[in-house]
């Protein structure tokens, strides 16, 4: 397997078998092939473990831009989707390893795209700060820079209309996420007529 730099020595069981076939009646050969296959399965499990750890790390580092939901793959037990836990055969392990390798490759690509996106956003922000007049009314969310929160870098005219006419532009960072309860409710004037009077009480 080339994607993650692993190589499986598929010929190894045959080599063991060949060596023993010359000396014995064939029964030990089967045993040795079994042992060799087990070694291959062990190697495949190691590769699967490494790929799984890598894909988990990419998802954890890239969340929420790289979603774990993008990583779902069908289960492989007995070739049926939705199967339960079982011991996987050599072929099933190979299929799983290949699918996981493809999936990890896909995640790596998404992560690389994200890094590139953030790099371009940082360049844009640098440009906005250097020459705000060239980026009139451009808005750049801080999420695009890989930062958390709801802030937005915004090129706006200084002093409103005056700045717009005079060509005075600057970059402002609007900060803060909207309040979860929505806009503040203004207190309505209390209607005195609804208040119970001392007489009615």
């Amino acid at each position: 397997m080339t994607q993650s730099g692993f190589v499986i020595d598929r010929d190894r069981p045959l080599e063991i078998g060949e060596k023993d076939a010359a000396a014995t009646d064939g029964r030990p050969v089967e045993l040795e092939i079994g042992v060799g296959e087990r070694e291959v399965r062990k190697a495949l499990r190691r590769q699967i473990a490494r790929l799984e750890r890598e894909s988990s790390a990419i998802v954890a580092n890239g969340f929420p831009h790289i979603s774990p939901a993008a990583a779902e793959m069908p289960e492989v037990c007995g070739g049926e989707v939705g199967g339960g836990p079982c011991l996987l055969t050599l072929a099933e392990l190979e299929r799983l390893r290949d699918r996981l390798a493809g999936h990890t490759q896909n995640l790596r690509r998404l992560a690389a795209e994200r890094v590139e996106h953030e790099r371009r956003a940082r360049e844009l922000l640098d440009g906005m700060k250097l020459e705000p007049g060239r980026y009139k009314f451009v808005r750049l969310p801080v999420r695009d820079l890989g930062e958390g929160g709801c802030g937005v870098w915004h090129v706006r005219p200084r002093l409103g209309l005056i700045g717009m006419l005079a060509g005075w532009w600057h970059v402002k960072l609007s900060s803060g996420c909207p309040l979860p309860e929505g806009p503040r409710v203004r207190a309505a004037p209390v209607s005195l007529s609804r208040c119970p009077t001392s007489e009615s009480a």
């Binding site: 087990r38 399965r41 499990r45 699967i48 473990a49 799984e52 750890r53 988990s56 790390a57 998802v59 954890a60 969340f63 774990p68 939901a69 990583a71 779902e72 793959m73 069908p74 289960e75 492989v76 037990c77 007995g78 199967g83 339960g84 836990p85 079982c86 011991l87 996987l88 099933e92 799983l96 996981l100």
Partner: protein
């Protein structure tokens, strides 16, 4: 606790054979071993499993419930308070990062090894993390459930409970036979061949990391429980023992 695991403590497996109380057709290892602490028992494994997944282990402990009240009823104030604390400690950032922590990551890898996709069939701790995010906290769900949840969130190791009255002999892990029922009840679900199950001497009692067989779960009035945890490669024995001890201590406290 799950952020930085200490070096593994060996489980001291004793390979002495146990009495043959199961069907002779199954080729399984007869090893039943005592751990460092005598109350914890190391479960047996089918020989093929032992060779293929040598670090897979089942560890069990017997518990005599001493807490007053029902196991499915409301937890004592101390347990509910602990759940509340855990809810406050466990936030969104950790819910995402939990898959990178050593113990949960080991279970994710093991899920892959047994043909489960941990992004579809979630590992126990990730399933609980998702619940926490969706429900806004670890809501109390009955004393036993709460105790097992606390152990899971503190150690990363899932613990299951069976009614000891329904368990026949020591627990172990093996593959199911074609059409073998899950549990001993009349309407038990038949299993396909090769499904990994937790079994006693005569029946499959739970699917590995899955559902418990009907009729074998702890009931409200159960007085004796068999708690078991599954240890996989990369999970230190200390964590498994701690999860079982925590659960046991919480249930045996009068």
């Amino acid at each position: 606790m799950s952020s930085d695991p200490p070096p593994d403590l060996p489980l001291n497996p004793d390979s002495s054979p146990r009495p043959d109380s199961s069907s002779p057709a199954r080729d399984r290892s007869r090893s039943r071993a005592e751990l460092d602490t005598p109350e914890l028992e190391l479960g047996w494994r089918e020989r093929e499993l032992e060779q293929e997944l040598p670090e897979l282990r089942l560890v069990a402990v017997q518990v005599r419930v001493a807490r007053p009240g029902s196991l499915t009823g409301r937890s004592p104030a101390g347990i509910e308070h602990r759940l509340h604390e855990l809810s406050n400690r466990f936030r969104g950032a950790r819910a995402v990062a939990v898959r990178r922590e050593p113990v949960p990551a080991a279970y994710r890898v093991f899920f892959r090894h047994i043909g489960l996709d941990p992004d579809v069939v979630r590992t126990p701790i990730e399933a609980m993390a998702l619940e926490r995010m969706l429900r806004g906290g670890f809501l109390p769900g009955g004393m036993l459930e709460d105790v097992l949840l606390i152990a899971l969130m503190d150690t990363g190791v899932p613990v299951w409970a069976l009614d000891s009255e329904t368990v026949n002999g020591p627990l172990g892990i093996r593959s199911s036979g074609e059409g073998e029922p899950l549990g001993r009840s009349a309407g038990a679900t038949p299993l396909p061949a090769g499904r990994l199950v937790v079994a006693d001497a005569s029946a499959a009692l739970a699917v590995l990391f899955g559902e418990l067989a009907a009729g074998h779960e702890a009931k409200a009035s159960t007085s004796r429980l068999t708690l078991f945890a599954i240890q996989v490669a990369g999970v230190p024995s200390l964590y498994v023992e701690e999860a079982l001890w925590m659960s046991r201590a919480a249930l045996e406290q009068p």
